[in-house]
Every structure is written in structure tokens, then in C-alpha cells.
Amino acid sequence: MSKVHIKLTVNGKQEELLAEPRELLIHVLRERLGVTGPHIGCETSHCGACTVDMDGKSVKSCTVFAAQANGAEITTIEGLGNPDGLHVLQQMFKEHHGLQCGFCTPGMITRAYRFLQENPDPSEEDVRFGMAGNLCRCTGYQNIVKAILAAAAELNAAKEAAQ
């Protein structure tokens, strides 16, 4: 099968590779680039474990061809923290017991990261609706919702303090 030449940026790092046209973004990330934070939970875009941020949008990388990500800017869970420490969402998930087995967590936090930019001051209902593309089998979402609302409050407080 002829291969497609793909250039993309993953967590700030330029990557260049040849992939089959049918190769999925999640497989390229996990198996070629060693970015194993995003997981595979269903292959039908229902569970959201593979959620990554692609050019400012949440996408389920199990239903995006790697070729479609040519030229794209990708952020995964590995790109959310910085050398100084954890992203506030990562902190709040820990603080509020927003995870158990941890398998959905990378997709969940990556989606929440984009969601809070789409809606910086969400109601609880907004969070529940905005996160409905990501499934969790362990937490019953109670503490995930709490963690995201707490992160929103922290981010807003930090914004206000900066102004």
C-alpha cells in the first residue's frame, strides 16, 4: 500500500512520518510516536478514551485517519502539564478523586481542557453535557464533574487575579 507523507506537531514537537492512508491517528500516536496517554476503549468513537486536541478541537483519534492530521497541531494528555507542574485540571482530578482505574482519565482531562476554553464558566449541567462524549466506568462521573467545576473556578480566579 502506498504511504502518505505526514507532518504534524504533537505536544509542541515536530514529527514527520510515512503512514498508510488507512492508519488511524490513535495508532500513529501510540505505536509510532510512543504517545500512549490516549487509550483505545471502543473503536467506534463512543467512549472518548482516545480524545486528543487537534487544531483547537476535541477529536476522537480512533476515528481520524493520521493522514487527516497532516499539518495539524495535536495536544494529548502528555502535553497538558508543564515543567513547573500539573495543569489545574490534573490537580483537581486528583484533589476531588475524579479517577479510579485511570483508563478514561487522559481522554477525560483532554476533553475538559478544550471544554473549559469553549465554556470558561460552565454550570454543572453544561459540564455534564459537554463531557457526554467521554465514558467512565468507575466514578459515576460525580467527582469528575466536581473536579472540572473546581478547575473552572481556579482558572477564572487566576484570570481575575492577572487582570
Binding site: C42, H97, Y141
Partner: protein, 806 residues
């Protein structure tokens, strides 16, 4: 106490021991995408395995032609039953005493059954090859109904058992019959029921579903031909048992097998059993000499590995006119699918279903369970429940409601009237269990008060009147449940899996500087063992939980244990942890006495140190004792500070709880809305309230899924109708309601720290609470019993059949 010693309470708090809402130590890596799950593993030269699966539920396999597949560049091998036969691995033993085909041996018995195993250089090539393998089938008559499977002329499913009428659990009476398991006193029960004032009779069906953890099952098998050692990383809830089974069936010496369970993305019972994928990956690695990875996809997971439930429970419950229960009779038709691959303790082919007398003082009872083969996937695992306990709880909690209807009595009052009283514990049940402790009336009263039960009933009655006047189309249901769990399997005298006693273990090493590592025979799948076991130990040995590493899941380093399922980690391994800690403390006492130049009996324990009795200024902290154990020659005391405990529990533990669900139901659309869900759990001593609450949240949500929509459904041809997450219901944050959690504390009298386990209670209690709410909403209109899952269509149909659509 000298001036430098901080007060007792301050020192105790610093330990972060029992009862502390300690934040989880696991979370740092999980929140940063640094978890280490099976599919994250990558080894040099690693190959990928993938299955050809049967499209038919019952068919003869006439031929398998892999020629085209083998011609694809990158395809290394295709394995069929013929390749496994010389190794005697074409069939494997199940945990239930049956055997199961690893790859189709002449015929297939369920849709999705493993037919051939492709090994290729990457997963895309493997998938291509799967498509190119030509299998010729000859269809056979299909039977998916366990009642029809028992007809004289029903197709013979298990030809390998033909003529063999002695099964693993006694005589078989039909070619599709697996076992009959009886408990209790049949004659006495028949007599009580025959002469009772009131008898309620009902068929209660608990449908087939699936644990569906977000991470599917998988493994990487690596045979190192140089040193003869087989290493298997896999999604194993019981790594040591897997090692022993792997050794027994492969012939590889057990010391040459190393099983490692890395991080596991949820288990819920799905990852207890041994699956054909594991065997095929191991064989493929032995054949190729390089690591072979097999990870199932979601459809394979739902179709092939470990279904749960599928119990048809016929019940009769007898009572006096004023509602005192006098007897319970139950017959279960258990659909086990094509192979009996239940993961129960060996002597319990229907698990602990004989807990089905529930929270009630029922003097006489009888139970019979018939296991039946059908053309469905094998399994019958404990999906977030302890071995058929959730089926038992659903059965008795429905029968109580059915009896309340028959008596014209309030269902809460009927429960109150029949609870086992606090002074009756330890309580001997009519079906053979000794309940360790409980205080059901206190929990029940607290729950009813918390939800304002009397007011809810008033509101419900008003709603019914308003509905009849045509002012609303919504009904109100109040779902009551009081459940009793039985967990912590279990005493070696009656609990084993394939002959392996169900004890568990903990080994502790204290380092010279006073920190520690503890290894256990269990394995966390999200329960937070690294956090909570350190808390148990902190309280026992006076070393801060932050200074204790917990390690599980590597059979080369962890002591032998039977693993994590059936809420057994805290009751069994938690007990082992406390007992090993006490051994450490006993040795520490001798060392402290030596250092303080007093007799052993003259020192006493004080949170994190031993002090000289009557001279609190003279003490040795655990840190000092730890160092001394490595640097002093103490007469009569071995150097070092280590201990190991293998704990054989004297009894199971019996957590319980009271759950109440208030549900609004739209009669015209069948839509439901959970207005309130109150969950009171009594799991004995509470180790980490934050983690307990999290377990309840998750378990109730799984119960919501099961009761309200989740199902593994088959059509008459044996086709799986719910093979993806599009059809298999998993609630999102949007559908999931709020939960109010509460607790009482009735410690287990036989557990070293009084803990009982909680992980599965919310699933066991949640399902009847949701289902009872649906039934209760329609009770005023004559509904007695309907079948789960209560999806919108079924609720609509119930309303329709009751004539509520005009």
C-alpha cells in the same frame, strides 16, 4: 512524654492511617498519561495476534484455508485447533470444572467463538489476514433459550460430553444440562408453602449483561528461549492463579513462568477468567520466539469474554396474614452459554446465590439451581459482585415487593417486620451462611428518615390521583432496597479455585531508615490499593502511609494470593496486611525493650513508638527501631524487620446497605428521570471515606446501566444484537444522576480491623433499587413483575399493556 513529643492525635494524623481521606498516590501518573496498561507495552520484535471468529452461533467447521492469508507479507503464522492439538492446548480447563475450546475443534458453539489465530507484524496486517482466511461452515440448529435447550429433541451442543452424564458438580440429566445445585430443606419448605396464609409466586429474570471495563482484555506473552522463562503481561485480576493454571496446562514449570498485571483499566469481573487469547498468544510466542501481543477490541470483548447474570429465578415466598415471612423457595435456570466458564469458588457452581434469603429472618428455605448450555458466549462472571450475589439480592428484593403487593402492605414496613434483628447475630441462615454482624433496623430507619419516606408516599398517592384526573402524564416510583452482601472469599475449608485455597497474603519489609514496602497477592484495577493498604499498615506499624510503597501484580515478587474480585481484597488481603503489620510490631517490641534495657512486657505501643510503661519520656520510635534492627546485634533476635502473613479468613464478611431511588416516569415516552438516589452503606470499619464514596458512585452507576438499559441480547439465530457501545448502554455524565451517600458502621467481629469491603455493594443494592422504583411507579395500576432492563421501550410497553395510553 518529653517536651519534644508531639501530642498523640497529631502523631496519629501524620500517619494518614485508617479513616483518613488520603488522596490517592496512583493519580500522579494516571493524570499525566503515564499509566502503564497492557496495550502500552512494546517489546523489540513484538508481533500481533488477531482472531478469526465464528459468524454462526452453531455450526460445523468443515474446513479452514489460510493459504491466501499466509501469502500476505508480514503474516507469520495462522494457528488452528489442529496446530494446538499436539500440545493438548486445543481445549483448556475452565475455572468451573468444565473445558472450553481454545480454537474451534470441529464445530462452533456461539457467535464470536475463536476459530483461528493470526500472528502478524502489525495489527493492520493481522486484520487483513483475518479477512482472507476461508472457513467453510455447515449451519446447525441454534438454541439460545435455556428452557428450549432442555427439550428432549433439543440439539446436542456439547458433543464432546455425549454419554458423559457425570459432570463436575454431580449428575447431568440431559445433554444440555450442566449441574443441579441444591441447598436448604426441600420437604420442610414445601410444607411451609403448602400451609401458608399467603404465598406470592413470581418469575424474576436477571438478564444477560457484561462487565465491559473501559480497557478490554489482553496480554503480551514473551517466551525467552535462552533462559526458558515465559513472561506474560496481562489484564489479570488473579495473576498467581493464572500462573498456576498456565503451568498446569502448558507443562512449563511454575518457577519458569512470570505473570505480571500492570495497570488495569477496570476489571469488574471481566478479567478473572482465562481466555483463548491468552493461550494463543503464549503458544504463538513459544513458536515464534518473540513477544506476541493480543488485545481484543470492544466487539470481541462484548461477544466473547465473560458475560454476567442470565438467571431465570422462579420464586415462592410464604408469609402469615400480617406479613411475617415463613418460607422461601427458589428454582434458578442458569444460562451458562456454550461452556461453563463461571468464575466461582469450585464448590459453589452457582456462587453464593444461597445468600438469597437476603436481610430477612426466613426460618425455612430451599434453593435449586440448574446450569444449562446454550449457543451463547461462555462466562457467568461476578460483574462487580461476589459470585451471583447481585442475582440473589435482586431476586429477594423483588420477591419482597411482590409479597407486599399480595399482602396489600407497605414494602418498607414488610421489610422492617422481617429483618434479622441486631441481637440475632451471628445469624445462621436457612441456606447455610453465618452472617457475621449487622444492624439492619438502624440503617433502614436512617434511610427512610433521610428521604422523608412518609411524605414521598403521600406525594405518590396524590400523583396517582392527578394522573387519573388527566393532570399529569408522569408517575412517581419509590424504589426500596435493603441488601446483604457476602464477600471476602474465603475460608480455605470451603473456598478454593481449582484446588487453590482462597487465602491472601502480605509481605512487609521495613527499610533501615524507617520507610517500607509491602507486597500483596491482590491487584488493583482502580480500587486504589496503593493508597488504602498503606493506610491499614500505617495504623498498625506507626510508619506514615506516605513512607510505604504498595506493590502488587508481579508473581516473581508478590506473595501468593488469589487476586482481586468478589470484594475480597479488603476482607482477605487487608486482613493479611494488618496481621503482617502486627508481626512487625511484635518484633519491634522486642527490639525496643532491648534498646530501652527493660523487659518486653514493660514497653507499650503508642501510635508510632514503644514507650516504657510509667515512664513516657523513655521511648523508641519505629524509625529508631527500624535502624536498630539493621545495625545492632540483639541477642535472640534475627537482624532485619520483615514479616509475611498468609491469611485464611474464618468467615466471609457481610456488608449491607439501604438504598432508595425516587424516579419520575413519563408514561407516554417511557423516559425516566432519577429525582433522588440515597445510598447508605455499612461496610464495617472505614479505611478511606473518599475512596468508599467513589466506589459507591461507580457501583451505583453500573447498577443504573444494568437496570435501565444495558444488555447482551441475542436474536433466535444466536446473533449478538448489542456488540458495540452504540447498542450496549453505558450512561454518560448527562444521564447519570446525583447520589447522596451515607453510612452506618457495624464492624466485622472476625476481621482484624473490622472492615468488610464495599466495592460491589452499590451494584448489588443499586439494581433492585432502580428496578423496584420502576415497578413501584406502576404498582397502583396493577403491575406485579416485568423484566429488566427497563429501557424506554420496555417502560412504554409496560404502560401500554396496563392500558395507560387510553
Amino acid at each position: 512524654m518529653n517536651e519534644m513529643t508531639p501530642p498523640k492525635a497529631e502523631r496519629a494524623a501524620a500517619l494518614k492511617g485508617l479513616g483518613t481521606e488520603r488522596k490517592r498516590v496512583e493519580d500522579a501518573r494516571f493524570t499525566q498519561g503515564k499509566g502503564n496498561y497492557v496495550d502500552d507495552l512494546k517489546f523489540p520484535g513484538m508481533l500481533f495476534g488477531d482472531f478469526v471468529r465464528s459468524p454462526y452461533a452453531h455450526a460445523r467447521v468443515k474446513s479452514i484455508n489460510a493459504e491466501k492469508a499466509m501469502a500476505v507479507p508480514g503474516v507469520i503464522a495462522v494457528l488452528t485447533a489442529d496446530d494446538l492439538r499436539p500440545l493438548n492446548l486445543h481445549w483448556m480447563p475452565t475455572l468451573a470444572g468444565d473445558k472450553q475450546m481454545v480454537l474451534a475443534d470441529g464445530k462452533v458453539l456461539f457467535q464470536g467463538q475463536e476459530v483461528a489465530f493470526v500472528v502478524a507484524e502489525d495489527r493492520y496486517i493481522a486484520a487483513d489476514a483475518v479477512e482472507l482466511i476461508e472457513v467453510e461452515y455447515e449451519e446447525l440448529p441454534v438454541v439460545v433459550d435455556p428452557f428450549k435447550a432442555q427439550a428432549d429433541d433439543a440439539p446436542v451442543l456439547r458433543e464432546d460430553l455425549e454419554g458423559n452424564m457425570e459432570g463436575a458438580h454431580g449428575p447431568r440429566r440431559h445433554h444440555n444440562h450442566i449441574f443441579t445445585w441444591e441447598q436448604g430443606d426441600k420437604d420442610a419448605t414445601d410444607s411451609v408453602i403448602g400451609s401458608a396464609d399467603v404465598v406470592a409466586e413470581e418469575m424474576v429474570y436477571y438478564h444477560r449483561t457484561h462487565p465491559c471495563p473501559l480497557e478490554t482484555c489482553g496480554c503480551v506473552a514473551s517466551m525467552d528461549k535462552v533462559n526458558g522463562k515465559l513472561t506474560v503481561h496481562g489484564t489479570f485480576q488473579a495473576p498467581h492463579a493464572v500462573r498456576t493454571v498456565a503451568s498446569l496446562i502448558s507443562g512449563i514449570a511454575e518457577h519458569n513462568i512470570r505473570i505480571i498485571s500492570p495497570d488495569i483499566g477496570g476489571g469488574f469481573g471481566n478479567k478473572v477468567g482465562v481466555y483463548p487469547g491468552y493461550i494463543c498468544a503464549i503458544v504463538a510466542s513459544i513458536v515464534t520466539g518473540v513477544p506476541v501481543k493480543w488485545v481484543e477490541d470492544r466487539m470481541e470483548n462484548l461477544m466473547g469474554t465473560a458475560f454476567a447474570r442470565d438467571y431465570w429465578m422462579k420464586g415462592k415466598i410464604a408469609a402469615t396474614k400480617d406479613g411475617k415471612i415463613t418460607g422461601l423457595w427458589c428454582h434458578v435456570t442458569a444460562d451458562h452459554g456454550a461452556f461453563d466458564a463461571c468464575a466461582d469458588p469450585t464448590k459453589f457452581p452457582a456462587g453464593f446465590f444461597n445468600i438469597c434469603t437476603g436481610s430477612y429472618d426466613i426460618p425455612t428455605a430451599y434453593l435449586a439451581v440448574d446450569g444449562i448450555y446454550t449457543n451463547k458466549a461462555p462466562g457467568g462472571v461476578a460483574y462487580r459482585c461476589s459470585f451471583r450475589v447481585t442475582e440473589a439480592a435482586y431476586f429477594i428484593e423483588r420477591m419482597i415487593e411482590v409479597l407486599a403487593i399480595k399482602l396489600g402492605m407497605d414494602a418498607a414496613e414488610l421489610r422492617t417486620k422481617n429483618f434479622i434483628r441486631k441481637d440475632q447475630f451471628p445469624y445462621q441462615s436457612a441456606l447455610g451462611w453465618e452472617y457475621d454482624s449487622g444492624d439492619y433496623h438502624t440503617a433502614w430507619d436512617k434511610a427512610l428518615k433521610a428521604v422523608g419516606y412518609a411524605d414521598l408516599r403521600k406525594e405518590q398517592a396524590e400523583r396517582v390521583e392527578a394522573f387519573k384526573r388527566g393532570e399529569t402524564r408522569k408517575l412517581l416510583g419509590i424504589g426500596l432496597t435493603h441488601f446483604t452482601e457476602i464477600v471476602g472469599a474465603g475460608p480455605v475449608k470451603n473456598c478454593d479455585i481449582l484446588g487453590l485455597g482462597m487465602f491472601d497474603s502480605c509481605e512487609i519489609r521495613i527499610h533501615p531508615t524507617g520507610s517500607a514496602i509491602a507486597r500483596l497477592g491482590t491487584i488493583s484495577q482502580g480500587q486504589g490499593h496503593a493508597t488504602t493498604f498503606a493506610q491499614i499498615l500505617a495504623s498498625e506499624i506507626g510508619i506514615s502511609a506516605d513512607d510505604i510503597t504498595i506493590e502488587e501484580g508481579d508473581t516473581d515478587t508478590a506473595p501468593y494470593g488469589l487476586g482481586t474480585y468478589g470484594s475480597r481484597s479488603t476482607p482477605v488481603a487487608g486482613a493479611a496486611t494488618a496481621m503482617a503489620g502486627r508481626k512487625i510490631r511484635a518484633k519491634a517490641q522486642m527490639i525496643a525493650a532491648y534498646l530501652l534495657e527493660v523487659h518486653d512486657d514493660d514497653v507499650e505501643w503508642d501510635v508510632d513508638r514503644f514507650v516504657v510503661k510509667g515512664a513516657p519520656e523513655r521511648f523508641k520510635t519505629m524509625k529508631e527501631i527500624a535502624f536498630a534492627s539493621y545495625n545492632q546485634a540483639i541477642p535472640g533476635v534475627e537482624p532485619g524487620l520483615e514479616a509475611v502473613s498468609y491469611y485464611d479468613p474464618p468467615n466471609m464478611t457481610y456488608p449491607f446497605g439501604a438504598y432508595i431511588c425516587v424516579m419520575e416516569i413519563d408514561v407516554d415516552t417511557g423516559e425516566w428521570d432519577i429525582r433522588q438516589f440515597y445510598a447508605l452503606d455499612d461496610c464495617g470499619t472505614r479505611i478511606n471515606p473518599m475512596i468508599i464514596e467513589g466506589q459507591v458512585h461507580g457501583g451505583v452507576t453500573e447498577a443504573l446501566a444494568i437496570a435501565m438499559g444495558q444488555e447482551i441480547a441475542y436474536d433466535d439465530m444466536g446473533n449478538v444484537k448489542t456488540g458495540t457501545l452504540m447498542d450496549f448502554f453505558i450512561p454518560t455524565a448527562w444521564e447519570t444522576p446525583h447520589y447522596t451517600t451515607d453510612h452506618t458502621v457495624t464492624p466485622s467481629p472476625h476481621h482484624p480491623i473490622g472492615a468488610k469491603g464495599v466495592g460491589e455493594s452499590p451494584n448489588v443494592g443499586g439494581v433492585p433499587a432502580f428496578s423496584n422504583a420502576v415497578h413501584d411507579a406502576f404498582r397502583p395500576f396493577g403491575l406485579v413483575q416485568s423484566h429488566m432492563p427497563h429501557d424506554h421501550w420496555r417502560i412504554w410497553k409496560t404502560a401500554h399493556d396496563l392500558g395507560l395510553h387510553g
